[in-house]
Amino acid sequence: MNIDWNAFTPLTALAGGVLIGLASAWLILMNGRIAGISGILGGLLNNERGNRGWQLAFMLGLLAGPAIWALFHALPSIEINASYPVLIAAGLLVGIGTRYAAGCTSGHGVCGLSRLSPRSLAATLTFMFGGFATVYVVRHLLGA
């Protein structure tokens, strides 16, 4: 293993993680809801009565983040190097996969691990493995 110390940003990563934890803690304690983004988006697509209000508000908060951030500070860089066909394939896999698994990095990874759920631990280990394996194949076997 070869650590890229130039890219390593421990302080912002930790502080950002604390904010994500705070947002999840806020939603479960104030609203009694899991801050699982694929679940909230999937719920909106299902047009669940009684849930639309809070689900839409949470999504608007996520979407408004960059604009509100930009009022005070330059936005951090968002580098997207994947081509459109790859982004489309990735989006389809993420959309279908997270709904089958009933959760993603936020629902299983943050909220599920925080409540010590074995099911979420299994999901997290599996999608982490999928991510590591895919990058290994793409970058080191195919050399893309």
Binding site: A23, V94, R119
Partner: protein, 140 residues
């Protein structure tokens, strides 16, 4: 707008700031973390660590309550099954995450920043969720 709605907006906004600050909303940073066998950037392990350090006590409290602070019932997942749906779904998600460096939250945040690639990703992700919904309806 009631308190429940405003509270959900606040949570989404803090979540968004967290994704931006941590580097999770930057696919190149995410791919640097997933590239275990290349020049590995371990930063994002600290995102998970920081989030769980705050989440753990909150969920311990939540599990002891029947109602949330704003009065709604506490909705904690009851499903405990480790089945094929969970594992194959998570695997497909992981492959997609590794292809583009986007998971759902960061994809939405980056499309809020009007990044064209993120908008394409999110449209495909929503389509995937609609495909899932159709498949589920058919099996019922």
């Amino acid at each position: 707008m009631n308190k429940v709605t405003i509270s959900a907006f606040v949570s989404g906004l803090i979540f968004s700031f967290g994704l931006l600050l941590s580097g999770m909303a930057n696919p190149e940073k995410v791919l640097g973390f997933l590239d275990l066998f290349g020049a590995w950037d371990p930063s994002l392990a600290l995102v998970m660590g920081g989030a769980i350090a705050v989440g753990l006590p909150a969920f311990l409290i939540a599990q002891k309550r029947t109602n949330a602070i704003l009065g709604e019932p506490m909705h904690l997942p009851a499903n405990r099954k480790l089945d094929k749906r969970l594992l194959l779904g998570s695997l497909a998600f992981g492959v997609g995450w590794g292809l583009a460096g986007f998971c759902p939250g960061p994809g939405i945040v980056a499309s809020g920043a009007l990044e064209p690639g993120a908008l394409v990703f999110v449209l495909a992700m929503v389509s995937g969720m609609l495909v899932f919904r159709q498949l589920e309806r058919r099996t019922r």
